[in-house]
Symmetry: C2
Subunit: 245 residues, 2 copies
């Protein structure tokens, strides 16, 4: 399981690169394979697949590993955050497979997006996916409400898909119950890729759908102390209370 | 602001490496500078400093940048998560400094520790620091309780220091109010460094202080569905409910 980070090779750590270069088979969602195409060699077997084919992809990778092949199963971001690492372990466990599985971490979307926004994750935060394909919407709502009550910065993964257009506005409305309309919100789409966009808006504007989001977007909602300055979004850690600055 | 990830150079991405190699001055906590010492060149100014000197370190780095120097301010993990990125922006803002600040993300401790444990972060999670140096303990308690009620996986940063030995046990007790004593808990200390240790225990044992933690430890507490298998900690995403496996 290899994490490729936000996408460009300059964010791929050497350990991940070695794993990809030394694998006999490289498998992954085609979009991520395209981003690292310069690393792939003609003698490697390459298995590209589409969205929503995660179960098949992981089963094929495990089957090859059982046959003695070294397989790099590539994920964008970090394979350990809403990605395929869990599914691989679950499948291996179901058949009690004797396969060595190593997870090589990558820079997750939450880190890439925070870096482009400034410093929104300097204090406690929650990471919540709005995808209700595998999780009931009621549970997602409960988590959003409690995270807002806890005054956690909230990082939203999967804010929208073609079928889910209004979930992000519903989420913003729930958070508005306990957080100021002026709360800074950062929206990053396609971080560090060619079509990157970075927006800094208010929670109120998020609820109104002011900036479109899609499957490549991550949304970060500030806590009660987050402020914006010079186009950056900053959550203070508390040094100013303790030491003055 | 440059993130060096868990420490060894094999986890440092090329963009971070370039920033360090091309800087005129490299500043950081001495422990992190030691981990990347092979990258440092004799003609660079190196400013190593101790713990708790964050404010001074950031002020010096900003002062040099104002004088036109290119400065790499190095942080372990990700500079954007409980690290110095926020402080740098706050200081720059106070004096309205005309300095270009770029944050280069790194692999955060939460990703490194999750990778070593298996796949504990496959579903929604909260990240909470137990350090009450800059945050009132009452607020930390409130966040732990609400995160537990939300059934979020909970990642605990700064679980202990020399002065704070029992906070992690108190945190475990709070979480036990709403979560099973058998909940899997992963404890990783010094991830990917020479003295690395990885333990998988129960929430009940965490409350009893079964495994010592220190400033280099990260603790991950599973949600109600997290299980352990073959020494790994796995939080299911929900594929098994939707598709069967």
């Amino acid at each position: 399981m290899v994490g490729t980070g936000p996408g460009p090779i300059e964010f791929l750590c050497p350990r991940a690169r070695d794993a990809i270069e030394n694998a006999q088979t490289v498998a992954g969602y085609q979009t991520y394979l395209d981003l690292i195409s310069e690393l792939l060699r003609p003698e490697q077997d390459i298995i590209g697949s589409g969205m929503m084919q995660e179960v098949d992809r992981c089963k094929r990778a495990l089957g090859l590993a059982l046959d003695g092949k070294t397989v790099a199963l590539v994920c964008g971001g970090d394979p350990g955050i809403y990605a395929m690492a869990g599914l691989v372990f679950q499948l291996a466990r179901l058949q009690d497979m004797a396969v060595d599985i190593e997870v090589i971490p990558g820079i997750p979307a939450l880190s890439a997006c925070a870096a482009l926004l400034g410093a929104p994750l300097m204090h406690d935060f929650a990471v919540i996916s709005l995808s209700d394909l595998l999780t009931p919407w009621k549970l997602i709502e409960k988590r959003l409400k409690l995270a807002a009550q806890a005054d956690l910065v909230i990082v939203i993964y999967n804010p929208a898909s073609k079928k889910r257009r209004l979930h992000i506005q519903k989420a913003a409305e729930l958070i508005l119950e306990t957080r100021s309309p002026a709360t800074p919100v950062g929206i990053v789409t396609s971080a560090y890729r060619q079509d990157q966009s970075v927006h800094l808006i208010s929670l109120d504007d998020l609820a109104k759908g002011a900036i479109p989001v899609n499957m490549q977007s991550t949304v970060i909602i500030g806590n009660s102390r987050t402020f914006s300055w010079n186009g950056r979004m900053i959550t203070p850690r508390g040094y100013e209370d303790k030491y003055g600055l």
